[in-house]
Symmetry: C2
Subunit: 231 residues, 2 copies
């Protein structure tokens, strides 16, 4: 079991790394264009999604609120709900080598967005709105109750397996993206150093020339003065 496991993993990893993004060149700048959307909205909860078995999940509710270290009080409780903020990258055929990959997350700031998202989730959560009158009940299913796929159903396993594949693919893509960003940052840094050196050199040259010019100027003025005197 595990041997196969490792073997297959190695194969996948090797193949992945073989892809070898030779982005080393990428000439000068580029990157400016940032076709990134941002900040999706939370959307509602009541949608049980098509792939939900008997919901006998392994969440193991209790025992989750003591936060051992002083990690800043965070990480204490197991939050719930996820994926409220997305970034909608890709969506054009898996373009990884396309430059605009830097601004991955739309909320480059606080890292608190997740928790914020959760809060937001709890704030405007449930149904359409508590302020609006309930829509005609004949047009919406309160509990959509799509399909309660049993855990051992073939359909369920098929869906799970497909999703697992998608997940692996997506994570590989994310990893590549991060690596590219890192490479790019390093490259940019080196480029920066080169440019700084060039600027230093140019500045020195300029200073030299300016000095020469001013000396000529003085010299010429002296000459003129001499001529005036001799006049």
């Amino acid at each position: 079991l595990t041997i196969m496991h490792r073997g297959l993993y190695l194969v996948r990893l090797a193949l992945w790394q073989m892809s070898d993004p030779q982005s080393s060149v990428m000439d000068e700048c580029t990157l400016s264009s940032l076709p990134f959307s941002s900040l999706n909205h939370p959307s509602f909860h009541g949608t049980p999604s098509a792939l939900t078995p008997d919901s006998s999940g392994s969440t193991l509710g209790p025992l989750s609120s003591h936060a051992p270290q002083g990690d800043g009080l965070l990480y204490g409780q197991p939050p719930g709900l996820q994926g409220v903020v997305r970034m909608d990258t890709d969506r054009m055929g898996g373009q990884i080598m396309g430059y605009p990959y830097l601004p991955y997350s739309p909320c480059l700031s606080g890292a608190a967005s997740d928790r914020a998202a959760h809060v937001l989730h709890q704030v405007c959560p449930r149904e359409f709105s508590p302020f609006l009158p309930p829509p005609p009940p004949g047009l919406l299913r309160q509990p959509p109750q799509k399909k309660s796929l049993s855990k051992d159903s073939m359909e369920y396993r098929l869906r799970r397996e497909r999703n697992n594949i998608a997940v692996r693919k997506s994570r590989d893509k994310a990893k590549r993206r991060v690596q590219l960003t890192q490479q790019r940052a390093i490259q940019l840094q080196e480029e920066n150093h080169g440019l700084q050196a060039l600027i230093t050199q140019l500045t020195q040259e300029l200073d030299t020339l300016k000095q020469i010019l001013s000396q000529r100027h003085l010299q010429r003025r002296d000459n003129n003065l001499a001529e005036d005197e001799s006049y």
Copy 2:
């Protein structure tokens, strides 16, 4: 077991120092110091680790080999095993804002070090060595059988909860790191543009001065010629 452990650790350390990708440039400022280790070894399998319950995992073995689309044949089988390459960042209090965070992955360049690790893995894998005679069985436990923590034991839940907290923390850190890298890349890019502009300006200035100087030169020579003539 632990002997091999330490031995492999040394090997790993050596490999790390051998790899050292960006030894080429990067001399100037920061970023050069790469406190990132790399190349962990896989270590053995039979060790149930201290935190392993009845192993009634939800792996759900079968049904896992059809790879629907043409995703490149990868992502087909459910691999197993993980964490072959580590980087051992942090380890100083969670420093995130310190610059040296770019080289997250230790294999920024050829990505061959990973393969090397894997190879190493397959080369010296299983037990102490197939070539050595088995050590006195009284001194080593074949299946260490640390503790078969039951899934519902308090100890198990405590460990799980602690690990969950650590995982959340680690992932937050990773996310912050990625975001910082992106920010940094963007900032570097802007800086690059600024430097480019400066270079353009300096070059123009230099050209102008050079022209002026050459003109003065010509003028002075003409003057000299005139004087000579009038002489």
